[in-house]
């Protein structure tokens, strides 16, 4: 694996690739979003956009994926690729990249995307920028990979000038998914690679799927009700869940609430958690560390409820309530419930001074 690295002339590298993650015969949202952004980059570079789909019997999905704006899909079908596995996927991607020499490869910054990209960039000895939020092309035609740095306080422009491909990962909900055009045509290319059972070095012994009983996932919800350290108690999350249910949304949490063991880490929003961009982000008892902002500042409307009027999160709020959340949230639950039941007495009961 550590053979002498010969730097090839980068002019031999053409085209933009998107690594397509899939599950249950569907593309993951982050991959669809990347096709949209990949299309933009490919057009800027005046080159083609290719999706790479590894799996077992995924031809129908490959054809479908073209509709999101790909020029072609490279498919590798193999029973060993049925589920994501670090080593076989990295081996196959490394072979495909060495064979076709793309100039850019984009990955979802998902658990599997990072697992794959991190392994691959060491094998290929090329640059990989994590969690990019924006891309540009510089004057020399390099991909300007822009990512939050230093805890989200600044944006770093990462360039990979001499090595190819230039690789980057992007979180879900950073770019907007393109529409699907069923009439779009393109090429589906089947590739074969050297892969044998000895390449499988780890086996999935058990899988317990997260159930939907806990409600929507925050990344998918239009409304996210997020709780922080100000809740003071894991029981207070039941109150947030009730409000989220009424608003058709999901609950989430700050890192401090997760670190306190009140809610599982899968609900954490921020730099070391997930990125969300719902229509409404309701931050309850969250003071607003920059690491938290990194995960929610693209939300369409931000509402902040905090007892401390100096909480930094108020600075990026569309609306805020300064008050005791243990009074404000029950009152909100009451008023939202009254709204949903069509009752007008609540609104009539208070003077409409602010209209």
């Amino acid at each position: 694996m550590t053979a002498v690295h010969v730097l090839e002339d980068k002019s031999h590298f053409h085209g933009v690739w998107v690594f397509l993650e899939h599950r249950k015969q569907g593309l993951r949202d982050v991959s669809v979003e990347l096709i949209g952004e990949g299309r933009r980059i490919a057009d800027l570079r005046n080159t083609t956009l290719t999706g790479v789909l590894l799996g077992n019997r995924v031809d129908d999905l490959a054809t479908y994926a073209l509709g999101y704006g790909l020029d072609r899909v490279i498919v590798v079908n193999d029973p060993l690729l049925e589920i994501y596995r670090s080593r076989p996927y990295a081996q196959v991607m490394a072979q495909l990249i060495r064979r076709h020499k793309p100039e850019v490869v984009l990955y979802g910054a998902s658990k599997n995307g990072r697992d794959l990209g991190g392994r691959l960039h060491a094998i290929l000895e090329t640059g990989l920028a994590a969690d990019c939020v924006k891309f540009d092309i510089d004057a020399e035609g390099n991909l300007d990979m822009i990512r939050p740095s230093f805890g989200g306080k600044s944006l770093a422009h990462i360039l990979c000038k001499k090595h190819r491909p230039q690789m980057a990962s992007v979180r879900r909900n950073v770019f907007v998914a393109p529409p699907h055009d069923p009439s779009r045509t393109g090429e589906v290319v089947h590739e074969s690679v050297e892969l044998g059972p000895s390449d499988v070095d780890a086996t999935l012994a058990d899988f317990q799927e997260f159930t939907r009983e806990g409600g929507l996932r925050p990344e998918e919800a239009d409304v996210v009700v997020s709780g922080g350290y100000g809740l003071g108690d894991p029981k207070a999350f039941a109150m947030l869940q009730e409000l989220a249910d009424l608003l058709g949304g999901a609950i989430a949490a700050s890192r401090k609430a997760v670190d306190s063991g009140w809610v599982p880490k899968m609900l954490q929003v921020g730099q070391t958690g997930m990125t969300v961009r719902p229509k409404l982000y309701l931050a309850v008892g969250i003071s607003g560390a920059v690491q938290h902002l990194a995960g929610m500042q693209e939300s369409k409307k931000i509402v902040v409820i905090n007892i401390d009027p100096k909480a930094p999160l108020f600075e990026i709020a569309d609306y805020g309530i300064v008050g005791n959340l243990f009074e404000v949230i029950p009152e909100m639950i009451r008023q939202v419930r009254a709204l949903k039941s069509g009752a007008t007495d609540v609104r009539a009961a208070v003077p409409a001074t602010a209209r």
Binding site: R114, S154, L155, A202, Q208
Partner: protein, 273 residues
């Protein structure tokens, strides 16, 4: 390095990084890298979780825990703390030519150092660092050494000479099984790292718990490390400008403030009446 399974205890190598503790990080405007001088430091919190996991495995399996880091000699502070917590010994790869290395040379240099330590059964890393937050070095080491890797593990068990690890993915919990040697990256916050013990502190006081190696000591190719041999560069850093928001803040009686808020959200068509 030849050894039978019974020849010596299992060896676990934990890779850690020392990171600035404060969230007040400063950027050097000239080099565009982090100014680390004068900022209080700590073991990168996810790495502390990896260390705690190693120490628990040591408790169960009488394993030897070796802690490895790469950086300036000021990193001794974190390595000494790791020993005070219960690690057996530590190695610091320290050399000026490593300065400015991105994740590619870092993974390469650590891989070479791991091979020099040798005889390892399990490699543990934190899922990512809190200062650079890429999560690329752990899988990069596994790629260099061509080892099985299990990322985002929140539990690691060693049973019948195999590693079983619980990995939290987006859709559910996976249990992976693999052979040793292998590499696991450890989920941030999956355990509570222990405090240094008195005996541990005494060991540190006696000295000699950190071994310093240079690139030449390890046999690292100088042409493959450092700022100029890193594929990526930070071309520039912009200050984040947050979008301007309406910023209407309500205060007063909850009944009134909640009504004002809901009215505003209904007017914005964010929620429907």
């Amino acid at each position: 390095m030849d050894r039978g399974p019974a020849a010596r205890p299992m060896r676990i190598i934990v890779c850690i990084k020392q990171v600035p503790r404060a969230q007040e990080l400063q950027v050097d405007p000239v080099t565009q890298t982090l100014k680390r001088v004068g900022v209080p430091s700590e073991i990168n919190p996810p790495d502390a979780n990896a260390l705690e996991m190693a120490l628990r495995l040591k408790d169960q399996h009488a394993a030897e825990v070796v802690v490895l880091s790469m950086g300036p000699t000021s990193f001794d502070e974190s390595l000494e703390r790791a020993v005070a917590m219960g690690a057996d010994r530590s190695v610091l790869l320290t050399d000026r030519i490593l300065g400015g290395s991105d994740t590619v040379p870092t993974a390469y240099a650590l891989s070479e150092t791991i091979q020099k330590i040798g005889g390892y059964d399990l490699l543990l890393c934190g899922e990512e660092t809190t200062d650079a937050s890429t999560g690329h070095v752990g899988p990069g080491i596994a790629g260099h050494l061509d080892l099985p890797q299990i990322t985002y593990a929140s539990e690691v068990r060693i049973e019948d000479g195999k590693v079983r690890a619980r990995r939290t993915a987006e859709d559910g919990t996976e249990w992976w099984e693999t052979t040793m040697p292998c590499l696991c990256t450890v989920n941030f916050g999956c355990n509570k790292p222990r405090e240094p013990t008195l005996t541990g502190k005494i060991r540190v006081e006696r000295g000699g718990v950190v071994t310093h190696w240079s690139c030449a000591d390890v046999g690292i190719d100088p042409k493959k490390v450092g700022l100029f041999n890193s594929p990526t560069i930070v071309a520039k850093v912009d200050t984040v400008r947050l979008p301007t928001r309406a910023g209407r803040i309500f205060s007063g009686e909850p009944k009134e403030t909640v009504r004002q808020l809901l009215d505003a959200l209904i007017a914005d068509r964010v929620i429907s009446p």
